[in-house]
């Protein structure tokens, strides 16, 4: 029990150390622009369609449920506000982050883990370069850049999906819906969500890279590492979301 707490603390310390090294790597030469670009394409563009689909479908189904659910109390008029608020503030940031944790986080740790067990990470060091700069910094930055944008886009198409259902299913005028949404969602809400995603991105990329480097038990270890990352990051995302939301509310509302 005590030893497990101790190893947890040690791990946390190591993750922070990796973060500190990465920060240093971000702001000092050499910086690998090509690798950053590659990663943005890989994880940002590569995840674009699936995040858009998820956002859109969530918008459709939420509008449908709230539309009928609230109709009983004559609350259909509140649907645009409720749907857009929940999409922008919680559902899209969380869904997108969990998706990226599953799709990208596991892939990152498996990739770095495979490099670790085949001594490619050692080869990076042996050739006089730093694995943190070569592998971690581009992945961390790419996730930080991509995730908030993906989540925002996802919210946008979600609201669009809501509009389609509100108009076709509940005969809500397009102008009314748009007007309601614009009056509900403030810029600070969008930025608040992006800030949360910014934090989640750091958690995903950092834990994935960290666990990748720690992979040691051969091929099987690569799979275990990927699992570990998905489970850990998902839990951290969900728990920290509560506290981040609370903090944002305290600060801005």
């Amino acid at each position: 029990m005590i030893s497990s707490v101790k190893s947890q603390l040690q791990q946390t310390g190591e993750v922070f150390r990796l973060f500190q090294q990465s920060l240093h790597g971000m702001f000092t030469a050499p910086f690998y622009w090509g690798r950053l670009f590659e990663q943005i394409i890989h994880l940002g563009i590569g995840s674009l369609s699936i995040t858009l689909v998820i956002g859109f479908v969530t918008g459709l189904v939420m509008t449908l449920q709230f539309g009928y659910g609230l109709a009983k109390f004559g609350g259909t008029l509140y649907v645009p506000a409720i749907v857009s608020l929940s999409l922008v503030k919680e559902i899209c940031p969380i869904f997108t982050s969990l998706l990226i944790a599953g799709r990208i986080g596991s892939g990152m740790s498996a990739e770095i883990g495979a490099m670790q067990v085949t001594q490619q990470v050692d080869a990076i060091r042996a050739l006089g370069t730093s694995p943190t700069r070569v592998l971690v910094v581009p992945r961390l930055l790419a996730t930080i850049i991509s995730l908030p944008l993906l989540a925002t886009l996802s919210s946008f198409v979600g609201i669009l999906g809501g509009l389609i259902i509100a108009h076709t299913e509940f005969n809500m005028p397009v102008g009314f819906y748009v007007n309601k949404v614009l009056r509900t969602i403030k810029l600070v809400d969008v930025f608040g969500s992006m800030a949360k995603c910014f934090f989640f991105a750091i958690v995903i990329a950092l834990l994935a890279c960290y666990r990748g480097f720690k992979t040691s038990e051969g091929t099987q270890g690569v799979g275990t590492a990927a699992q570990w990352v998905v489970v850990r990051t998902s839990i951290i995302i969900l728990i920290s979301d509560f506290f981040l939301s609370k903090a944002i509310i305290l600060l801005f509302e």
Partner: protein
């Protein structure tokens, strides 16, 4: 001659398992030192320690008279352009081509223009007989071919010292000869090397001196002729084939 590398009383263990228990040897400028020993005696670990990939528990390592075993990871980067390690398994980057693997250290550590890098890479690939494979990915190569590319990559920067980890193991006789030729050429240019191998005839051809590890210590150290003439049963067992 000057000692280019000096290893003094090195201790290293992994999770309580002792690998080195006081290993000392020197490498002189321009010579090739054979490092022999039964499998698992820590030859690879010793080479890795020399460039800080593994950190030794005790002892000292000097490169050109300067102590290097206490350097930080960042300071070691500089040393690693001078002392180059050719991995036992090649350790090629599998997401990029053979050409890009060999070009990697050149782009990282030299100011060479793209065309000059290309010229240099093709020269080295020519030497290890892998020029035709320049655009292939490492996964398309056999183990022996990967090893030769790994050797080419570790030579790209023309280091002072090359640490060869079993460069001939798993190669066919023709390519063994070719790798030995490469090592000879490298030596003829005045560079030093540490040659880890189980291939005694190859060691006899290339090395000036031999160090044999035995249970975490140096079991034998001497020139090639001392090695061949030794009557020590342990040394004999090496000479007559393991």
């Amino acid at each position: 001659m000057e000692n280019i590398l000096e290893v003094k009383n090195v201790f290293k263990s992994f999770e309580g398992k002792e690998v080195h228990r006081g290993v000392s040897f020197t490498l002189q400028e321009g010579e090739t030192l054979g490092l022999l020993g039964p499998s698992g005696t820590g030859k690879s670990v010793l080479l890795r320690s020399l460039i800080g990939l593994d950190i030794i528990d005790e002892g000292e390592i000097f490169y050109r008279g300067k102590r290097i075993d206490l350097l930080s990871e960042k300071q070691f980067c500089q040393i690693r352009t001078k002392i180059s390690y050719s991995f036992q398994n090649g350790a090629l980057f599998d997401s990029i081509s053979v050409f890009e693997n060999v070009a990697y250290p050149l782009f990282e550590h030299t100011q060479l223009k793209e065309l000059e890098v290309e010229k240099r890479v093709m020269e080295i690939l020519e030497v290890v007989n892998m020029a035709d494979a320049r655009d292939l990915k490492p996964s398309d190569l056999s183990g022996g071919m990967q090893k030769r590319v790994g050797l080419a990559r570790s030579m790209a920067l023309q280091p002072d010292i090359l640490l060869y980890d079993e460069p001939t193991a798993g190669l066919d006789p023709i390519n063994v000869e070719m790798v030995l030729e490469v090592m000879k050429k490298f030596k003829a240019q005045g560079f030093s090397g540490v040659f880890v191998t189980h291939d005694i005839p190859a060691a006899l051809k290339i090395c000036d001196r031999v160090v044999i590890l035995k249970q975490g210590k140096v079991g034998f150290s001497g020139t090639i002729s001392e090695f061949e003439k030794s009557t020590d049963p342990f040394v004999q067992s090496f000479l007559t084939g393991l």
